[in-house]
């Protein structure tokens, strides 16, 4: 579990085993385990404060864990000797509040990290950035500043910015929670396309309809543990745990 073995695609690309995390006296994760295979799309749902976002942030080492193990492509994420850049090249993350760099235009936002962090060639990165913005349907908005874009547009720039690093896994942390119902759709369309292209996606979401449609596997978390899991059809039609039933009953 601790040694880093050569990772092959028949093993889980993200392997989370018995993870505990507390912020001070508050226990957030109380022994979470889950595996994600390459190309799989998983959705994590659950009430606020159940540890969904924290779990995602632990996967790319934004937050340290107290106990347990998280591996991405066989690499232990919380190894003190970990090369964080290597991890973050593999794992892209999109946030609820977009978190674009407000002093840079859309295309500069996409180009910055590959140029400053990966030291890639500027002209090559620029071509890729334009292609990515086209892919997320933001042609013509390349030179707009984040402040001039709508929430949905900003979020799609954020997705393009993350994709510019060519990650193997994408983490989406409630990416539509700050959007109005109409713009939610444009962001979800982008994510669905990514999923269909075979990108491994971990989504924390409150969009149940979308989750049902796009997920290969559903997880329901409450008070820091995974209460129930399963393929979306069964998960939504026939929830077994009373807490899942109650939660889904309130939402649907």
């Amino acid at each position: 579990m601790t040694a880093t073995q050569a990772w092959t695609t028949d093993q889980p690309i993200v392997r989370i085993a018995d993870v505990y995390k507390a912020f001070g006296a508050v226990d957030v994760l109380n022994g979470v385990s889950l595996n994600v295979m390459k190309g799989e799309v998983i959705c994590i749902i659950g009430p606020s404060g159940s540890g969904k976002s924290t779990l995602l942030r632990c996967i790319n080492a934004l937050v340290p864990i107290n106990k347990g193990s998280i591996q991405v492509e066989g690499q232990e994420v919380h190894d003190p000797k970990l090369d964080k850049l290597e991890l973050r090249k593999k794992v892209g993350m999109v946030f609820q509040q977009y978190n674009l760099f407000p002093h840079k235009t859309a295309v500069q936002n996409v180009m910055m990290a590959p140029i400053t962090v990966l030291k890639q060639d500027k002209t090559e990165v620029e071509a890729r950035a334009y292609a990515l913005l086209k892919k997320v349907r933001l042609e013509g908005k390349e030179h707009s500043y984040p402040g001039e874009l709508s929430g949905g547009q900003q979020q799609r720039v954020a997705i393009a910015r993350s994709l510019a690093m060519n990650p193997d896994v994408m983490l989406f942390d409630e990416v539509t929670a700050a959007l109005d119902p109409e713009t939610v759709k444009e962001v979800l369309v982008t994510i669905r396309e990514l999923a269909e292209e075979g990108m491994t996606c971990l989504l924390v979401t409150h969009e149940m309809g979308f989750a049902r449609e796009v997920a290969d596997h559903m997880y329901f978390t409450d008070r820091g543990v995974i209460v129930e899991q399963g393929p979306p059809k069964e998960f939504f039609a026939n929830p077994k745990d009373p807490r899942t039933q109650e939660f889904l009953g309130q939402i649907l």
Partner: protein
């Protein structure tokens, strides 16, 4: 040009308003020299105090407790003592501890001259305030923006240089302007260690010609113009880096 100079001689003869630096070539030379010494001292101090501010604010965010304490100690020391005392301390106390070197005439003289000491002491003085000014800007950058940079693989220095600092700059520019304006005015303290800047040469001129009111008015007008120029340049810069749709 000659007629211009002659007119000021005439002005003195007729009205008693004695602007020696217009008609007397020796005073003119002193005044021009003083003017450029003030500008040069200001530019050097503006540059180094800003660098000290940027580096100090970076070190303040260090994980090492002793680095943070040293920066804090530096700020307390330079903020809580009078700049004139600091300048004397640098020039007379530290200056005497340094080895003496032979100059071009074969005399022994201190390694660093009075201009250098004035530049060092004023840069550290204004730098202490700049650290705090930059810190206020850095704290205004949302943690989530920094986190986004981190998630994209930026290390702490890259995130500071490319994300945090450019945003912090926009927030703290008004406060920075204030401090830099103060700095330009504080360069007159270099008078105390005989740096031939504007106040010092003016004093020389009025000692020779007893034209104190004229020289005082001249000084005030020159400083209004100098600081006005700085403020104008900083405002232009502020406008140039303004980001559409970003509140600042």
């Amino acid at each position: 040009m000659e007629a211009f100079f002659v007119w000021f001689q005439w002005l003195y003869d007729e009205t008693g308003v004695n602007l020696t630096y217009f008609y007397d070539s020796f005073d003119r030379g002193r005044m021009i020299g003083g003017f450029f010494t003030t500008i040069w001292l200001s530019v050097v101090c503006l540059f180094f105090s800003t660098i000290i501010g940027i580096v100090g604010a970076w070190l303040q965010g260090s994980r090492l407790v002793w680095t943070r304490r040293i920066v804090q100690g530096y700020i307390q020391f330079f903020r809580n003592t009078p700049p004139l005392v600091q300048m004397y301390f640098f020039f007379f106390a530290l200056g005497n501890l340094l080895p003496r070197v032979k100059n071009e005439f074969g005399f022994m003289e201190p390694m660093l001259g009075n201009f250098t000491w004035a530049a060092i002491s004023l840069s550290f003085f204004a730098g202490a305030f700049n650290v705090e000014i930059f810190r206020s800007g850095i704290e205004a950058v949302p943690e989530s923006t920094r986190e986004a940079a981190e998630a994209l693989g930026y290390n702490r220095l890259q995130s500071y240089m490319y994300v945090v600092l450019p945003l912090a700059f926009r927030v703290c520019l008004p406060a920075l302007n204030n401090n830099l304006v103060n700095l330009v005015k504080t360069t007159t303290l270099a008078y105390a260690i005989a740096v031939p800047e504007l106040l010092y040469v003016s004093n020389q001129i009025w000692s020779d010609s007893v034209n104190v009111p004229e020289m005082m008015v001249t000084l005030l007008i020159l400083y209004v113009a100098l600081v006005g120029l700085l403020v104008w340049a900083m405002h232009r810069w502020e406008r140039a880096i303004r980001v559409p749709g970003y509140g600042i």
